[in-house]
Symmetry: C2
Subunit: 422 residues, 2 copies
């Protein structure tokens, strides 16, 4: 019997609260099928690790350590922002990857990332075939941006959405308490440069059993200062206060980022601050209301302590399914979440060809944005609600979550040539 | 048998994740002693509600609703920023308060706040006595600033500290994953204009079992640009990345807030942004490292979802003790947490005279700041650790915490005169 091929796994792009849950799903499932899959090597700092032959031997980690990945945020093996381009332009890199895989007897390539990595994954599969060293390339979806097509949602998004919904609810309770004599406006800046998925989650803070005045600024809706100020004022008149959720990607009618419109550093450069203080100051200047503002930044995608149970389960299941697809002989595919019903939320694991995923961006449907442009519709709520459902708390030690850090021991190099990245 | 006197309860100043737990302690305990205490009336929007005779009848709330206050953040009856001054200057207001209390047969005054409210509480007790309508005035401590003397800590602080420690740990894991090719610096701005208690909590993110590179900028330490940049660079060289926790109160050698030093709006006004982007840009300009930054603002004091169990228990116990002190006939006192041991953390309920609390600010001991000025000492860790210990999760519904909103029905007014506030 021939020795089973090894597998390579890498994390790509911005990390999330649950990308390690997918890693856990990949590694635990591979361990169950040791007759089919040898060792799982992880790329140290994503694909850069493969290019530089800096591989991590995950077989040296205990079962308990791998299990702990399920409740640990961020990328346990390191990620990277390193985009491989087309086959022509980045040929040397693709070829190097296949050389490294060949040297380490790697027959499976699991790439955990967003749209760009789906494309890379597809290209590796194509080129490997041409180079006579076939590799089964499976993409594992991940992105807080929630912009991959076909799959119901992308792991990482549900937890970011839950964090934003919970935070906006809590801050709204706070500003509500202060509004009589002090702060009337709370502005929260959220991620999403191209799409308003995360901003929309702020709308969930207000629900049937907990009505809150929330105004959302979506990147999909061109910013209209007058309409926005009117809407905020209307909420303050009715509720006494207002919470504003603003996407970093909101643009002015000129097509500029609103974030860039208000501030200059001492040398006259724009930028520095985020869009939250711009919006807060605009309200203060026009309406006179005192404000507070927050920028969640990494906190929203790293907040494993308040991760969505749905999200954790799906992230794990997608890692598991990726390995199962590989064992079934699949190539150039991605496991995907297929929604069967909204209430109760039911989903099953599907399979998508990478050809149908790569370079296709899922936009937020405009039917998810209320007619006035400042809120979410029932359709949006129906879509989002199950994705933030359930809690999945990490274990704690001394008041802090116990997140695992792996040993991450390197695999001995086999290639003579160094490879210069970037 | 004479009808027992009613009680008045009000929330003052910035609200916290657990001030309602104190309210819960006050009201539940008063209900247990209905032979001694009649109804508990709450001030709508704090002391402003008393001045305007806008009282809330908490007896109309169910036991379940009152119990739910224990897990609900912010001020359920509304708070206010309204400082009563000295007896001379604010005499009309003090006299009005006592008139209102008299009209509603209020014999107990429970004031839930920080240093200023302790002072108000003391003055009310003194003046009431002089005016021939004695009121037992008990202060219930609360403040994320943790600056009341004698008590081991102030309710609200432990939960804010836990939020900051957890968030800094999570964001550090995130930036660690990204550092190879992208972000190397994460800057988190925290509250504490006068004292570094909350900033110090950022230091807890790094622990014996989870070493992280964290640099703290305290308001107690005059900002030194060169030393700071050297320290950050040293961490990046050693760990590959660095997290910076910066207090909003950090000052330059000129005595200016560092937050004001970097930014101007388009009209040339300073301010707008916080100190986080100033620090992040400074690092980028000097060292070239890519950064991300977050401003937690209200999120840190409203985050009931990650409240400290110690904090919730103490907040409740202080509310309970306040009522018990009142029943014992005490006046012009505050219940306080007395620490008996660090490990295991043991505390008992004490009692402090308001004379010994009012207008005295507890500073963070300089022995809590490491010699280089950028970290916390073992003594600090020993003090802080128990305060963030334990989790006390709220119930959830559909992915979101179920926070109670009370009916807050008004008590009928009895006084003819209106009172104009402010």
């Amino acid at each position: 019997m021939s020795h089973p091929k090894n597998a390579f796994y890498a994390q790509s792009g911005g990390v999330t609260a649950v990308i390690n849950a997918s890693a856990c799903g990949v590694i635990e499932t591979a361990r169950k099928h040791s007759d089919k899959i040898g060792k799982v090597y992880a790329g140290r700092n994503g694909i850069v690790g493969a290019l530089t032959e800096d591989l991590i031997d995950t077989s040296l980690e205990s079962d308990a350590a791998i299990a702990a990945l399920r409740h640990t945020p961020a990328g346990a093996f390191g990620s990277c922002r390193y985009k491989l381009k087309g086959l022509e332009e980045s040929r040397a890199e693709y070829e190097r990857l296949i050389e490294v895989f060949k040297a380490h007897d790697i027959g499976y390539f699991f790439y955990n990332g967003g749209g760009d990595s789906a494309d890379t994954c597809l290209k590796i599969s194509q080129l490997a075939d041409k180079m006579g060293y076939p590799i089964q390339a499976i993409h594992v979806p991940k992105t807080v941006d929630n912009d991959l097509p076909i799959t119901d949602c992308c792991p990482g998004f549900g937890s970011a959405a839950k964090y934003i919904a919970v935070s906006v609810r809590e801050a709204s309770f706070d500003v509500s308490s202060m509004a009589k004599t002090s702060t009337k406006i709370f502005v929260m800046e959220v991620m999403g440069r191209h799409a308003g998925w995360i901003a929309a989650a702020g709308g969930l803070a207000s629900s049937e059993d907990c009505d809150l005045p929330i105004v959302i600024l979506f990147p999909e809706v061109v910013f209209n200062r007058e309409k926005f100020l009117d809407k905020v004022n209307e909420k303050v008149k009715r509720y006494g206060y207002c919470s504003v959720v603003v996407s970093e990607g909101v643009k002015t009618p000129d097509g500029e980022f609103l974030a860039d419109s208000g501030m200059k550093d001492v040398f006259g450069h724009t930028q520095l601050g985020g869009v939250a203080p711009v919006v807060a100051t605009m309200i203060k200047d026009a309406l006179g209301y005192r404000f507070h503002w927050a920028v969640a930044d990494y906190l929203q995608r790293a907040a494993r302590h308040i991760a969505s149970k749905t999200d954790v389960e799906q992230a794990y299941a997608l890692g598991e399914a990726a390995v199962e697809l590989a064992i079934q002989g699949e190539n150039a595919v991605m496991p995907a979440i297929i929604r069967k019903s909204d209430v109760p939320y039911q989903w099953e694991m599907g399979k998508v060809k990478l050809n149908d995923v790569a370079n296709i961006e899922k936009k937020m449907p405009l039917s998810f944005i209320s007619e006035d442009g400042f809120g979410i519709t029932e359709a949006c709520r129906k879509y989002l609600q199950p994705l933030i459902a359930g809690e999945d708390y990490p274990p704690y030690n001394g008041g802090l979550p116990s997140y695992i850090r792996l040993r991450n021991e390197a695999v001995s190099k086999k290639l003579a040539a160094e490879f210069k990245v970037g």
